[in-house]
Amino acid sequence: MSMDRRQFLKIAGISTVLGLGGASVMRGVRGSEAEASHVMTNEKALTAKRWAMVIDVSKFRTEEEYKRLIKACHSIHNVPDFGEPKDAIKWIWTDTYEHTFPTQPNEYMGESVKEKPFVLLCNHCANPPCVRVCPTKATFKRKDGIVMMDQHRCIGCRFCMAACPFGARSFNYKDPRLALKPEDENKEYPTRTIGVVEKCTFCTERLSKGLIPACVEAAREIAKETGTEPGMYFGDLDEPGSEVRKVLSACYTIRRKPELGTEPSVFYVIGGEKNA
């Protein structure tokens, strides 16, 4: 069969139109239920412009109290404990003053500060270097300022670990389930898998249910038991009346390595012997 240019164009045009029509009909059939549905944030969810935390270390008296904070976090987030520092996964942990604020110490510092453990967690920086280096956008900054991780996307390249100046990120060198007993697992929260990086998420899953982060809740419980003020505050940095802003305006606070310009959202009140 021979065909001239005009016939060819006619047939091609008609079949394109038919094809497009058919595709849209199919889409209508397949997508009807998905289109009728939608997603939204929970009505009870706590929201903010920029979540932040203030940690008043003078309010913590014993190592035991820090351990409770760590346990509160690590148990609900299925963070494994391999019992060996090189495999350690930490969302919240403690370290010395010198390691926490490396540009601050002086040789005449009192024991009360020098030897005191400082509680550390992801700083949820306003200008997070981990987000900038992540090649898959597995680490990203949410609208509310939380630096969040999408474990589904993490390829385990560990650029973020190199970029984070606070050591807030841990790599799963081993399958975390090896160190988690099935009866200790929180069945409502996933574990991670071998080969991904993880860190504190400011308890996004709890915020979405209207709950404050687990460590802050634990700090409030400790305060209630001992009849003192809680050592951790959580709130919106953008809201002048918020809990954190009140503490920030009342106390002198410092942040870790501010000279790097990452703008951490975790603030520290140091106190010392006289204020303790």
């Binding site: 997603v39 939204m40 996004t204």
Partner: protein, 134 residues
């Protein structure tokens, strides 16, 4: 036209043909057990209205897409409430919503996935419900 080494070539071709079609011959007449996912968990039995979040046909064809959408909306956008096509609300969570009712991963998920030889990596991280003897 002459075919050099005709005997060898034809013999080779026959052997090749049988090698390639060997799996088909092996399975001739055998009936493969069809996957039959089960939804008779105690949790589903207790439901007043035994319905999934969307229609059966939709869930069967589109559950993988829906789960991907759920993953992105919960993790990346922080939107953890799903309003289905009938206006009913559900919490977006594989472990706490899907698997709460479908507490039989082996008979519900694996049944078809194994048959189709697909290996979703959900359970590397997400904790599967404890299998109950039914």
């Amino acid at each position: 036209m002459k075919l050099y080494d005709g005997g060898k070539i034809i013999a080779g071709l026959i052997i090749f043909f049988f090698l390639v079609t060997f799996p088909f011959f092996l399975n001739i007449g055998k009936v493969n057990a069809k996957p039959e996912p089960k939804i008779d968990t105690p949790e589903i039995q207790k439901l007043a209205e035994k319905k999934c979040i969307e229609s059966k046909a939709f869930m069967r064809a589109e559950h993988m897409k829906l789960l991907n959408d759920w993953r992105d909306s919960a993790v990346r956008n922080g939107e953890r409430t799903y309003v289905n096509s009938k206006g009913k609300e559900f919490t977006i969570s594989l472990q706490n919503t899907c698997m709460h009712c479908h507490s039989n991963k082996k008979k519900f998920c694996d049944e078809c996935h194994t048959y189709m030889a697909v290996n979703p990596y959900c359970w590397n991280c997400h904790i599967a419900p404890k299998e109950k003897e039914s």
